[in-house]
Symmetry: D2
Subunit: 321 residues, 4 copies
């Protein structure tokens, strides 16, 4: 079967239509290595269950995972220790607080962090990755991700260095977690893993494939490999719907309705589950989507990327709701 | 087509299996008229797109809507003024705070209430219902609900009186909303509507039908009547998934995965959308579910009802995730 | 002994010097009856232990007690039931929250309100005044105040009406107190007393006399009457120092150092204890001060009045620190 | 003039009477080197303006300054840069939050820390001490303290090491301060100074002398040396009254009324200003008091020491209120 040229044309048209929304955001200024990127970039890649890739816009540029890694670390850890182990240590409840707030964690102490997508939960999860050192833990994650995308991945050392030096707030949070007995390893080690995972370089094509695997409940329909259990994929999708887009997760669910996880680099990982009763024929059997648009809005999500996904979901009836 | 006796038997078996979980909760003690109910009751009703009803357990007992009404008022208001009007006045973001907390609202001022399912948002929505007086507003809602269920509904005056006298916290919240200019009408009027809607008597059969209509995006597949738009139904389902089960909405989504709204009376309204790729044949074309189990857990949800829905969703693969 | 003309001249000069600071504030806009007052007014009255009164500026204009009443209700209640009774029901700890915040109360629940000078504590105290009805409770307070100032006092009905209609935030707070079981009487009754006490009309001369009595530990050195115990006066002075000037109490203590209580009407009650080792001779044996300057700053204190007290305290070495 | 034997006898009697209150507290368990101290110790030293020392109980044991150092760093910094410089960087408002909370600081951002006695303010102040390195800054402070007490002081290296390893919460706070641009130096340097100052060893005799100097507005009446300005001493006393005893400062002011600063080591520094109109003759011309009782209560203050000071203040009429 061949690629559908209409889908390709449509995506290219939507890239043009939505490029302008980049002016509603700016690149993440608090991480110097991210702040210097061209804010007008916009790229998308979609892949279906037969392995057809549809890429449009600025798809050559690699970027770092940032918070997208939170979804992947959650999955990797659940794969190793089982979902029950992870859910004993971090909850799956959404919170109205900003992603990096210290407040909610303190108030609800001595409970566990609200969910693995706020920084308190994400650092807790990263520190639990298997391995005796932060390097080994990081390598475990990297190897898990490489098994998903099927090729080697590497870290953006400049972004790592930039974040290592400036992440005072994450250090504050991690020391707070240490004080509250949530971290078994040293704070500096936990930050090393966390910042390392945030600094992994990725492409929209890779994100699209990962999104497809999540949409197919851990199964890669192209390679026929099962990477993780249905249960893990389902909880990951729940988290993506309820907490995946920072403090506009509810609005994203209402207007887009696709499980997704964004990062301040401007990347978005989206998983479109099969929807046999869809009102259109495009991607009825599901898809994975990778988006990159480095100008992020006030809530931390790609400004143009979010608008484009809204249009795509509406036109092709991709919402799970 | 006839009812499927296997489904009926299965539901009756699950009622027996889950009845015991009632001891994990107690009836709502802060509303005297609710506190005196037999906590061991448990009933369920499911209805499919052909109008087959499957009822098991204690299904004769009527109960009051309580917070379930929040979902219905949101839909009724959106029907009248349009979704855009409503979303300008109340957000759709989940919050980690307790449903009746005054804190989050103050902190995020002067924004709108987080969502229509926390009390601040619910009172705001109720006060906006069409009509010049609280009585007219209430009648508008009642008439909307009667059009959904197809028969007259009435208020439980004893519950209304009980709540009117003891709802100091809702009065506090409503005066706070008034102070913050969110309420155009008088506080006592807003509370009258709000407590009235909470006191409407309902049965699990009615809830099941309403759930079916929401699952079918506002369309009643039995009567072939379209009650409200796809867009309204979709946002309602998003809210049910992200905020429908108070502060355990995330866990309910992870373990049950069915859009639902609960009330402290022990009722649960659940909407099972069609899922043509389901791993089982039961309710592939969707369903509505009404549950009643008055012993509620620490988060305010029916203890036995939640456990039973978890089992049903798992066995019949009803999760949307 | 006669009045000291130099003191009189000095006060008149300071009134002129400080009048201009009124532009740093505005009259309380959220209470219409207060908002319409001429913001440029400034008056002061000081009285010494021999009954010499020194009045300068706009001293004819009466104004309402507002939060100044909180100090007096605390004293009146302690007189009737004893200090221990009162301190069991309200704490004496300062708080960094705004005077009318709902937050701190909720967080520290189920403790008692932080202190009687935040609204939660003040309403709690007012509701405890002796008497079977709000009218009787108010009359008890009024009669106590009249015994201090030696003449009848009356309420400003226009201010009362204005506050009764607009005090949504106080109603929110009072319903919250009711919910938390801090109020034994009905909310509307508690508000009636509280707003009544806030609406009592007073002059700077009266305030000066009350300040003198507090400075003299409950004893009126002019009439030789002991109105309340040393212990009550001392706790009142502690509260005035730590919480008397809303959220700038610490700064007022650091720069003025005189126990004082302000109100949003622009009045300030100040009690200058005897200071035999003072570096000047003025008011070595203590004094009472009443100030009126209706333009209030962002923290709720008379802008010009605060500046004038700072100058007076510095020049005449009146700080207790 | 000779020591008054009646005062000596009285103090020894009060030590015996109050020793038992130690059971109301425990030694600070979160700092291992403090947790292992004998909790039943209780010692006091008072010194008057003629240099008479009255010491009773366990006065040989040295202990570390801990939070008492916050008052001294504030004075030392104000001496060097002037009060205005310091007050621009840290406020002097009390707060109801716990001394080491991260919450209030975040909420009130971008304001300055509430006061120099909460950890956020204290670390800010310490980091500002003159000197290019943390070592030089610490030496500046040490040398200032040595000039007050008149002999060399040293650090308790075991306590320093113990706190350095376990102060996750202070690290969290300091990184938070860094993020908020309150710290110009590196976090680890700021913590080095802060933990160093907390670890300085002191005796009740030294504390008594420092208390006397503060009571005399920076002047040592025994050596006739003026160490710091009246203004600095007065603000220090205001802080001691409003925030000196953690979250029971208000109660301490109400029941004791002496400016004081406590530390979790169980030490208390108290400054009794002259009170010529006192109802007793003891210490009319003021005094300094050092107390040591390592069993601390829930608010962090020496349990027996606080009770003893309450008795002393009442019997000898030492309250400034």
């Amino acid at each position: 079967m061949q690629n559908n040229p209409l889908i390709q044309q449509q995506l290219e048209a939507w890239i043009q239509e939505n490029k302008g929304h980049a002016i509603l955001g700016t690149t993440a200024q608090y991480i110097p290595a991210l702040g210097n990127v061209d804010p007008s970039l916009l790229g998308i890649c979609m892949v279906d269950e037969d392995g057809h890739y549809y890429c449009a816009g600025d798809t050559d540029k690699e970027f770092t995972l940032q918070s997208i890694s939170k979804a992947l670390t959650f999955i990797a850890l659940s794969c190793h220790y089982g979902l029950e182990f992870v859910l004993e240590r971090v909850d799956v409840e959404p919170t109205g607080e900003a992603f990096n707030s210290i407040i909610p964690f303190e108030i609800h102490r001595p409970n566990k962090p609200f969910n693995p997508f706020i920084n308190a939960g994400a650092i807790t999860v990263s520190a639990l990755l298997p391995g005796p050192t932060s390097q080994k833990k990081y390598e475990y994650l990297l190897s898990f991700l490489e098994s998903l995308v099927g090729h080697p991945l590497e870290m953006d050392q400049e972004v790592y260095d930039s974040e290592w030096k400036t992440s005072h707030r994450n250090r504050a949070l991690a020391y707070y977690l240490k004080e509250a007995n949530f971290l078994e390893i040293e704070v500096e080690e936990a930050l090393d893993i966390y910042i390392s995972q945030c600094s992994i370089k990725i492409s929209v094509k890779d994100l699209a494939l990962i999104g497809l695997i999540i949409a197919y409940d851990g199964y890669n329909p192209i390679t026929k490999v099962k990477h993780f259990s249905d249960e893990i994929a389902q909880v990951a999708k729940v988290l993506m719907v309820t907490c995946g887009m920072y403090n506009s997760s509810g609005n994203f669910a209402a207007h887009v309705g696709i499980p997704a996880k964004s990062g301040v680099s401007g990347g978005i990982l989206a998983a479109v589950p099969p929807k046999l009763h869809s009102q259109t024929y495009e991607f009825r059997a599901g898809a994975g989507i990778g988006v990159y648009g480095p100008a992020i809005d006030a809530t931390g999500n790609s400004a143009a990327g979010t608008m484009m996904l809204r249009q795509i979901s509406k036109e092709w009836d991709l919402s799970i709701f």
